[in-house]
């Protein structure tokens, strides 16, 4: 009804997004930008898109922010219970299967496109998961609106057996490509390196969009409204205090 009068309901908070992952010689590196959008408006300039799944598994999420957060949270919980029950470290394929089954059940209505990466007893793994529940297993992957920009970088520069620094540099380059060439992605670069020994979550590893436009003098706005008269009227006391009287009954 309000739409007739030109007032539209806010569109979903989406994570326009560029998310990437690649396998390097010691494990997996995941990367993501940090812009969250509500239609044409940037609603969060520094959100976290790399979600914790297990101590050795992380997941980047593109699509509707609420969906990616809820689904990764839920599967993370299920993995924790599974770990208690089996007494073993979680496997990436377990997280993969739990996620894809859930997404397929909802026939694509849970709008979450994920890049899942981790290292377990069987080695390093990297997968992409689409909202309808299909998955791919890849040595390097990109998702989100900036995926084409990032994939262009990967396709030209990826090779097997990258070292840790080479891998981080390549991931950063791919995310930056998304940040600068895709309107849905922007702000900073988050990187997460997962190896057999452990994980390193490099939050805001690169900040290529610092805020440089604040004036050091501060801003002063000219007063446009002229003050004609100042009059202060105290409000009347509405409460009459009667001393004494009977105490309230318990």
């Amino acid at each position: 009804m309000l739409a007739n009068k030109g007032v539209n309901p806010p569109s979903f908070r989406k994570t326009g997004t560029t998310i990437v992952g690649l396998i390097f010689q010691d494990g997996v590196i995941l990367g993501a930008d940090t812009r969250a959008t509500e239609g044409p408006i940037v609603c969060d300039k520094n959100c976290e898109k790399i979600h914790y799944m297990a101590p050795n598994i992380y997941c980047c999420g593109a699509g509707t922010a609420a969906d990616t957060e809820a689904v990764t949270d839920m599967v993370s919980s299920q993995l924790q219970l599974h770990r208690y029950h089996t007494g073993r470290e979680s496997r990436v394929v377990t997280a993969l299967t739990l996620l894809k089954r859930h997404l397929f059940n909802y026939q694509g209505y849970v709008s979450a496109a994920l890049v899942l990466g981790g290292v377990d007893v069987t080695g390093p793994h990297l997968h992409t998961i689409y909202p309808h529940g299909s998955t791919d297993t890849l040595p390097f992957a990109t998702m989100g609106s900036g995926s084409l920009a990032a994939m262009a970088v990967f396709e030209s520069k990826y090779k097997e057996g990258l070292t840790r620094n080479e891998g981080i540099e390549l991931v950063t380059e791919a995310i930056c490509s998304g940040i600068f060439n895709d309107l849905g992605s922007g702000s900073n670069v988050d990187v997460c390196v997962i190896t057999k020994g452990g994980k390193e979550y490099l939050r805001n590893h690169l900040q290529p969009n610092p805020r440089t436009y604040t004036s050091s003098k501060g801003y002063s706005f000219p007063k446009k409204t002229e003050v004609l008269l100042t009059k202060i009227i105290p409000l009347k006391e509405k409460v009459e205090i009667i001393e004494g009287g009977d105490a309230m009954e318990e």
């Binding site: 949270d73 839920m74 919980s77 924790q80 219970l81 208690y84 029950h85």
Partner: protein, 249 residues
């Protein structure tokens, strides 16, 4: 074979005849719930377990007597972890314990999902106790044949709780359950001090277990779980237990 009257067909349930659809825990004329009393007897004939709350942590321990020397003792773990900072041990029926552990872990995880806070020890105890109480007031089920000792360390410091088959729970400074309970409790009453350190508590726990132990005590036939100021519950390895045993000698 019970003969079914025509009226019974209306209430036919897959569980059995309608004559058995009442709860087994119905009050006796003396005001007791007989099934719960029997459950406590089952607990009382289980292997001894005990817990001691120290000033800077909690220790729980149990006998691990296996039915035969052929049983692989590494496959049996009586002390379990419910959350990273809460552990539990039992006296009574092992399979009932496993079911409760599974339910408690799920509840702890659900609490964490909802409040993004690790579940406080008292909350988990309350929820576990509520599950155990449910099974004393539902149709077609029996009470759990275990008493639990839940040890945890959260913002309120170290805590030790006992939960009974009836669903009642108590906070203890030190407690024991199972076969040797009266001797163990007397021993603990004598030895317990409020300012005990965690290591002293482990030694006291070992001595208490030794009291009623038949045979040679070693790292292979007892289990000890500790949680200290690091708030991480862990079960000691058999070699660590042997080290503590050597210190006690």
């Amino acid at each position: 074979m019970l003969s079914l009257l025509p009226k019974d067909f209306e209430f036919f349930i897959t569980m059995g005849d309608s004559q058995y659809s009442f709860s087994l825990t119905t009050f006796s004329p003396s005001g007791k719930l007989v099934q719960i009393e029997h459950a406590l007897t089952a607990v009382g004939s289980g292997q001894t377990s005990l817990g001691i709350k120290a000033a800077n942590g909690v220790v729980i321990a149990t006998e691990k007597k296996l039915p035969s020397i052929l049983v692989d003792e590494t496959s049996v773990q009586k002390i379990q972890c419910l959350t990273p900072n809460i552990g539990v041990v039992y006296s009574g029926m092992g399979p009932d314990f496993r079911v409760l552990v599974r339910k408690s872990r799920k509840q702890a995880e659900q609490y964490h999902r909802l409040y993004k806070e690790p579940i406080p020890v008292t909350q988990l105890v309350r929820e576990t106790a509520a599950v155990m109480q449910e099974f004393t007031q539902s149709g077609g089920v029996r009470p759990f044949g275990v008493s639990l000792l839940i040890a945890g360390y959260d913002d309120n410091g170290p805590q030790l709780y006992q939960v009974d088959p009836s669903g009642s729970y108590f906070s203890w400074k030190a407690s024991a359950m199972g076969k040797n309970v009266s001797n163990a409790k007397t021993f603990l009453e004598k030895r317990y001090t409020d300012d005990m350190e965690l290591d002293d508590a482990v030694h006291t726990a070992i001595l208490t277990l030794k009291e009623g132990f038949e045979g040679q005590i070693s790292g292979k036939n007892i289990e000890i779980g500790i949680i200290g100021t690091d708030k991480k519950f862990r079960v000691l390895t058999p070699s660590e237990v042997d080290d503590y045993l050597a210190e006690v000698e």
